[in-house]
Symmetry: C2
């Protein structure tokens, strides 16, 4: 027999979460997580699933019937989108202007797709003219783009222009809305997006584990008429249809508690009103950006495509970003993040999402960052 | 703009969960779910991941380094096992004696494997002689079996005999331990199992969402030397190695709260002691079986391969199983389940798992079932 390990009672530090996610969870959502469970086939849970779908449609601003939480974190919803839409032999167009375009490429390839790219530098949005060129050259079947790029703090403007180009070529559009849903203007139906996915732990301020996905009827028709089965059983939407659709037949056990939490997080969205919530994020993030400028830190992304939920800030020349991040965490219990990929070392990433998008959090961050920057922090080479 | 839906505060009924899972969650685990989050790359979360791995090794009775929770419910851990171990062209041997063998087949095929079967009737375990024959005939690369079949209430005895046959043929063994881990004797190392997966919501009494998986070094070597990438990005263990291994590099956002809960559920296992816990499940389930016999309900599975955590009971001829199940739920807030697949209509499935494996739950169930059976319940045709 192996001996039983001795592990102490759970006592994590109380952090203020201003990084790229998770954000601070609202107390009502934490309480929902502590609710005793009913079974995943209990009639009361089935009713609750209907409510979650209705609330998700509101957050996405869509009437799509196929609007459900996927049983995993944001990347599971992302893979559900690509694994179901892409069949072997399909051409898939993805962007190269941030970390998550590369993840799209990897998922599309694993689904059997051939990947082609539309290029823009990290830190810039896609130019519709470049998307048009890529469509004319490659005639892709599926086009993925990132509405809110967490690695660069860039919001893709002109979404309707991109979807119009794709639909003129009979392609399907998949939008990464992980860092926009519930915090930044997003209109799935008005912008004619075919498929959008998100995560819970960003602007919805929900613990990760059940992740929003929406598909138009046209996209779902494509999934249901695939020639080859989806390469993941767990994420196969043609089977999930049985559980989330009219049949309510068993597919897999849903993460019941995470669905409780998502429901409560989405109730908070509905109570605040989605437009009021977008405005709050913009207003609070603007005060963050102004305050950062006051202490000598400049926003990295241009105003035109600024992403209020995720603010990239240039690291000053004389500053070691890792030291600042560690000091904020260790001395202030405050989480922010450094750059990813091409922007590693060049930017700080400061989230302003959901329940973290509050003046109190911003004021605390500005004070802590100001204090921390004043200490000399020579770059280690 | 779509209008905001009005959805009431979360108030699910308080059920007593004696079905095939979820089981009743221990109050300490529910409390852990309400803990404010730290980030998934926070150094304190990294330490906590080490603790969860150590606790999981104890529950599995293994020294396998690769012992982690997968970021999804039990079927995600199941698919992680098959998607990583099976490469296109591999032959995969699966059983036909229950619902979950068919799920193994579907997952193996989606991974590119060719499926062959070893047969036994629903409600019987595999016979090692049949497994030997299947190996001699098909020379499979991977062999999946179900240690604790939730659809039939059958425990596979002779596990060491099965693994010895497989290893004599240089095959890898994947064990479904969804309904045994933490409740029924399971010794991954002593029984020479290469890969085992489980769920949280059965004998661990944890809300579903982070699901145990363990792989031997030999199995992980196979994963790391694959010729083709795993067909799921989300479940690719060669990438998860970066997060759960020494690097601690970002792959995807872990379901932080579910990991908190799993840690607490596993602490309860360590405090009780794994052998004491197996004995408790056996003892409490025996009192359930005895009490069921007293009210005229016979256990379906033979004593020799009885599965204490999931008790199948024959539905008497004159009884409509669906009516009984509905009445227990609606009048007693008590969940049990009917049969699945070949056993639909023939059996009740009564769980006795984790925090639900208590005398109080058993006494309540017996009293409620006795009352319910006394009401005339003509079978609807």
């Amino acid at each position: 027999m192996l001996d039983a390990p001795e592990v102490e009672e759970l006592t994590p530090p109380v952090r203020t979460l201003m990084g790229p996610g998770p954000s601070d969870v609202h107390p009502r959502v934490l309480r929902a997580m502590g609710t005793p469970l009913v079974g995943h086939l209990d009639p009361t849970f089935i009713d609750l699933m209907d409510e979650v779908q209705e609330l998700l449609r509101y957050a996405f601003q869509t009437e799509n019937q196929w609007t459900i939480p996927i049983s995993g974190t944001g990347s599971a919803a992302m893979e559900a989108a690509f694994a179901n839409l892409v069949e072997p032999g399909d051409t898939v167009l993805v962007p190269t202007n941030g970390y998550f375009g590369y993840r799209m490429a990897s998922m599309a390839e694993r689904a059997g797709g051939s990947v082609v790219t539309v290029d823009a530098p990290w830190g810039k949005p896609l130019d519709p003219a470049d998307v048009q060129d890529a469509f004319d050259t490659h005639q892709p079947d599926v086009f993925g783009f990132v509405h809110a790029e967490t690695s660069t703090g860039v919001r893709q403007p002109n979404v309707s222009d991109l979807t119009a180009i794709a639909h003129a070529h009979d392609a399907f559009v998949i939008a990464d809305t992980v860092t926009s849903l519930g915090g930044v203007e997003l209109r799935v139906d008005a912008w004619d997006i075919d498929v959008a996915y998100s995560g819970g732990q960003k602007c919805l301020s929900c613990p990760p584990g059940a992740s929003p996905l929406t598909l138009s009827d046209r996209a779902m028709d494509r999934v249901l008429s695939r020639e080859n089965p989806v390469r993941s059983w767990y994420l196969d939407l043609s089977q999930l249809e049985g559980y989330w659709g009219d049949d309510r037949s068993y597919h897999h056990t849903a993460p019941i508690t995470n669905v409780y939490a998502l429901r409560e997080a989405l109730r908070l969205v509905a109570e605040e009103g989605i437009e009021a919530r977008w405005n709050r994020h913009r207003r609070v993030a603007q005060s963050l950006v102004d305050g950062l400028a006051d202490i000598g830190l400049e926003r990295y992304a241009d105003e035109e495509y600024w992403l209020p939920s995720l603010n990239t800030v240039s690291v000053p020349d004389h500053v070691d970003d890792g030291q600042i991040i560690d000091r904020l965490l260790n001395e202030y219990d405050l989480e922010i993040a450094g750059g990813l990929g091409d922007l590693a070392g060049d930017v700080f990433r400061i989230g302003c999402m959901g329940h973290s998008a509050r003046p109190a959090n911003v004021q605390y961050l500005l004070a802590a960052l100001d204090d921390t920057l004043e200490i000399e922090t020579p770059k280690t080479q």
